[in-house]
Every structure is written in C-alpha cells, then in structure tokens.
C-alpha cells in the first residue's frame, strides 16, 4: 500500500536474500514461536511481506492477502475498502484497490501474479476489521499463485520486522 511518508524514508531498502522455506530463521520472534508451522513448502501458511506492507499467506495454492499491523496503525481507522472484482487478473505489483481513512487513501499493490478468487465481503459493512484484525478477519482478497517462485522475492516475518525498524529510525 502507498504509505507515502513511509515510502519516502524506506526507498533505499535493499532486499535480503530469501530464506529457504524449510530453515527456521535464527531469531524467531515471539509471535512466530507460538504458531505451529507446517514444514512442507506446499503447506506453508506463514506470511510473506512486500515492501509496501501487504502480506500474503499461501495455503493449497491460494494466497490470502492483507495489510500488516504497521500499515493499519499508520493508516488509522479504515472507513472504506475499494477491492477488485473476483476474476481480476493481477500482475505482481499491480494496483488492485485502496483503503480509505478519513484523512487519506492508500493504494494496495498485488504481492504476486495471479487471479482474484474471493474478496472479503465483510469489509463492506465493517471496514474497521482491517484495523481490528489485520491478519485474520481483516483479510482483503484471495488469489491464485501463478508463479510460486515470486514468493521467494518477498520478505519473511523476520526480514519484515527488520525492515519496519529501519524505516522508523
């Protein structure tokens, strides 16, 4: 999503090398320790992140997409979600919608190449779910994963935590 203030500061972030799916990150953050991860790459449901603060979690070939806690905090109360129609074909980094707060709109960018299979219709009446539950009930869209290798280009939880810290300083 386009958090303009954030982007201006984080523009020079260089991607870290992707961690192989089966190796645990060295310093596992508390949030990950509590979760039980499937060790098979196919069942990998751990979130990967974009530098624009979207996350995607792939399960059985379908990716669920949302925005991170950092993003929802910076955005403020979401009052409206503009989401694409089911069937929309997206290339990685295509703009697929926007989240509106009272003050501003933030565009959403597709983490991967694929087709939209479902949108979270609960957000029409309850856009605040994006703030209250950005990783669960506030999911935005589900999509197919046409190029699984694109996942490797995204940040792991750890790498994303480091990325956020580098922006904040």
């Amino acid at each position: 999503m386009a958090l303009r203030a954030v982007r201006a500061l984080g523009a020079n972030w260089a991607p870290l090398p992707a961690l192989p799916a089966l190796r645990r990150p060295r310093a596992t953050p508390p949030s990950l320790r509590a979760r039980s991860l499937g060790t098979s790459a196919l069942l990998l449901a751990a979130r990967k992140y974009t530098d624009k603060h979207e996350w995607i979690s792939v399960e059985n070939g379908i990716g669920t997409v949302g925005i991170s806690n950092f993003a929802q905090e910076a955005l403020g109360d979401v009052v409206y979600c503009s989401l694409p129609e089911v069937g929309t074909k997206l290339n990685k980094q295509d703009e697929f919608g926007a989240l509106e707060s009272v003050k501003a709109a933030s565009e959403l960018y597709s983490p991967l190449t694929g087709e939209v299979t479902e949108i979270n219709t609960a957000l029409a009446d309850n856009p605040g779910l994006v703030n209250k539950s950005c990783y669960k009930d506030g999911w935005l869209i589900k999509m197919t994963v046409d190029s699984p290798s694109e996942l490797d280009e995204l940040m792991s939880e750890d790498a994303y935590e480091k990325y956020i810290k580098s922006i904040e300083d």
């Binding site: 958090l3 409206y80 009272v102 003050k103 904040e168 300083d169």
Partner: protein
C-alpha cells in the same frame, strides 16, 4: 470556465517555511523519537515551532509539517475519536501558527477597507467578521477574521500559509497610506492562540473567567483573565461549526493554560486531522483548496462577505469583476456534494449524467458524523442547484453524487436573540 484544479494541498506552505524566524523559535525539529511510526515530520529542517511544540510531543502528538510549521496532526486518540469528541464534548487546538496582527491609527478602518470586501466601519465595538483580501482580478488573496476592538485597534487573524504575502500586502498598503498623510501602523502580535471548540467548551472556560460568557455572542471578542492568565483576548469563533472560542495569550503562559484546560476531563487535545474533517462538515472553506487567487467571492459562494455599502461603492480590490457577477451569475460555483462509495477527494473529476466533465472537487472526506462522503467543488453553474444528480470519477469508476446544501452538519454558533 472550469476550475483546472485548485491550489495546493496541506503541504503547500512548506516552501514558505524557510524564512525569517519571525515568530516564536525557529530551528530544526527534534529528531524522531524511538517507536514513532510513519510520520515524516522530523526530517524537515527549518520548520517553525509554536510555544506548544514540546507540549504536543509530551502528549503524544504526531508532528507533521504544515504551512512551514511543525504541527500535531493527531494525538493518541484516533482521528474519528477526536472528531466525534469535539462534537460531543470539546477539543483544544493549537492554532498559534496563524498570523495575528493589530492595526492601529485613526485611519485603520480606511486602511482595512482598502484591502477587504466587508463593511468594516459598521462593525460594533468588539465585533468581528469573516472577510476576504481580494486582488484586482477579483480573486481571493486570503480569508481572515477582522475584529474592531474597543481598544483602538483592529485585531486580524489570517492563515499561516499566507502569512508572508498577507504581511507584505498590509505593510505596503500601510506605507502608501502613511505617505499620503494617513495615520495607520501595524504590529504583528507575537501571541499564542488556542481554540477550544465543542458544546462544553464555554462551560469549561466559564470556570476560569469572571466575565459572563453568556453575554459574549458568536463573533464578539473581549479581554479577560483566563485561569489566572491576565490579558487574554477571547473571541467567540472557530473553525469547527461548534460553539467555542479562540484565546490569544502571551506565549510564555500558553503551556500553563493548555494544561489547566486539560484538567477538565471533557477537554481532549485535537490536531490538524480532526480540524479538517470538522471544518468540512461545517461547510467552511480551506484557503488553498476551496478558495484561492483564481476564485472570486461570488464563485466561492461567499457573497455574504461582500458588504452592502461596499457593493454599492465598488471600492474594494476587484470590485469591477466581483460585483457584476452577483447579478449575472458566475460561470462556475462552489457547491457541496454528498455520495456513498469511495470517499471523494481533492482533484476528483465531476461529470454530468452524460459523462461530460462539469467540475472538480477541491476538498472531500468521509464525514464521521453522517457516515457518508462529503466534498466541496466547483461546477458549472447550470448544474449547481441543490439535489442535482452528478457523477464523480474515483479510480476510473463512476459513482453517483448529489449536490447538497452546506453546512453538511448543522452548526451551533451561539447567538443572543
């Protein structure tokens, strides 16, 4: 004539920020505190700071650049919470960035009238009015409040983003008048300025003043001690549509007064974010967005600011263009719009039902009170009637919008019948 898109958004005044540190302290904004997220404020060197700058940060204010100043956009409460709290209780805003000027001299009214459109001579002692500086093309240089005080001066409050040009305008005119033998001089008033706005604002203030505030109606002003701070100018006005006051006081006492006001649990701090959504609900213009040097008062639907005597005398800048527009109707007009669907914001295109472009949005946001989208924009006069159905284009999709009366949310100014 269609508005090609109007003046710059909130950040415009940043260009003026590096200037003579005329007011308060000027200098680098303190660096980002650890854990402060997402706000780019700390990176601009040369932003001016009000006397409440540290106070804002201590109270959790997120600082952003605005018109050359480092100002709080919001505090720990969310934007929505802050907005609704102002409508239900009251909020305290730091508006010290605005320019406060005093005009002295026997010919001060003549001076003021040479620059603004209003009947300043007819103001009663301690009465104020919203007025406009206009230029020879009939455009609006700034909007401001002029109060005719009972202390032999006019008290003028104008926008921070226009302070350099307003001061230059006023100083030049004052010099011209003096050269022609008139008695007028200006003084920039280096005071802090607080706004306390909301239904309980006056109750909160009354506890700290001995004047009976029931006798201070909307747009009137008085000097009084406020919670032990002597010589505060209290004006019953504001930028939210609610009852409330602006308090001008010495910079050295403003932190003390702000803390004292916050002692009342009904009072919350509020920043620029809530200030903008509140004024939009109240149908109030934001200079630079909704009015600027390319809009006339008639196009801007501000005909009421044109003094009755002044219209007849045609003796204000741009009168030759402005006054005929009252009868002949301008080609475009500022109107209110309402819609559902995605919020409509500045620069959104407005179309008629046949898909032809008929205007542009100059301000817009989702209304926290109405739970609908509200906006202001300029559209061709033939489409400007209330309840006209139009189309707005948001992210390449079309949505329905309705021309609406303003204010969108009823105002609650305190008048004495």
């Amino acid at each position: 004539m269609l508005r090609a898109g109007c003046g710059a958004a909130l950040g415009a005044g940043l260009r003026r920020g590096i200037g003579a540190g005329r007011r308060f302290s000027s200098g680098p904004v303190s660096g980002a505190k650890p854990g402060r997220r997402g706000w780019a404020s700390a990176w601009q060197v040369g932003l001016k700071q009000t006397p409440l700058h540290d106070f804002h940060q201590q109270h959790g204010g997120k600082m952003v650049p605005f018109a050359g100043w480092s100002m709080p956009v919001q505090y720990t409460y969310s934007h929505l919470e802050s907005h609704m709290h102002t409508r239900q209780h009251c909020s305290l805003f730091d508006v010290s960035h605005m320019l406060q000027t005093k005009v002295f001299g026997r010919d001060r009214v003549k001076f003021m009238e040479s620059l603004v459109v209003g009947d300043i001579a007819e103001l009663k002692p301690d009465q104020g009015t919203l007025s406009l500086f206009t230029n020879e093309k009939g455009g609006i240089i700034d909007d401001l409040i002029v109060t005719s005080t009972s202390e032999q001066h006019l008290y003028v409050v104008s926008n921070a983003g226009c302070s350099d040009k307003d001061l230059a305008l006023m100083q030049t005119r004052a010099q011209e008048l003096r050269a022609a033998g008139n008695d007028v001089h200006l003084e920039v008033w280096e005071n802090a300025l607080l706004a306390l706005q909301g239904p309980s604002a006056v109750r909160v203030l009354q506890a700290g003043v001995s004047d009976d505030l029931a006798k201070l109606p909307f747009m009137s002003s008085a000097v009084m001690d406020v919670f032990g701070v002597p010589g505060c100018r209290v004006t019953r006005c504001g930028y939210t549509g609610e009852d409330g006051v602006e308090i001008s006081l010495p910079a050295g006492r403003v932190v003390e007064l702000a803390e004292r006001l916050l002692d009342d649990p009904d009072v919350w701090l509020a920043g620029l974010a809530a200030r903008d959504s509140l004024r939009l609900e109240a149908g109030l213009c934001l200079y630079g967005n909704d009015i600027d040097e390319t809009t006339t008062p008639v196009e801007a639907s501000l005909v009421w600011t044109l003094g009755k005597r002044r219209r007849a005398a045609m003796d204000f800048p741009g009168a030759a263009i402005i006054v005929p527009q009252i009868k002949e109707k301008p080609k475009c007009k500022r109107v209110g719009l309402m819609s559902t669907g995605p919020p409509i914001r500045q620069h959104t295109r407005i179309l008629d039902l046949e898909g032809r472009t008929v205007g542009t949005v100059t301000s817009g946001c989702p209304s926290p009170c109405l739970q609908k989208n509200i906006a202001m924009g300029y559209i061709k006069s033939e489409h400007s009637k209330v309840d006209t159905v139009l189309t707005v284009e948001v992210r390449k999709k079309n949505y329905s919008a309705l021309v609406s009366k303003m204010p969108f949310v009823p105002t609650r100014y305190y008048t004495i019948k």
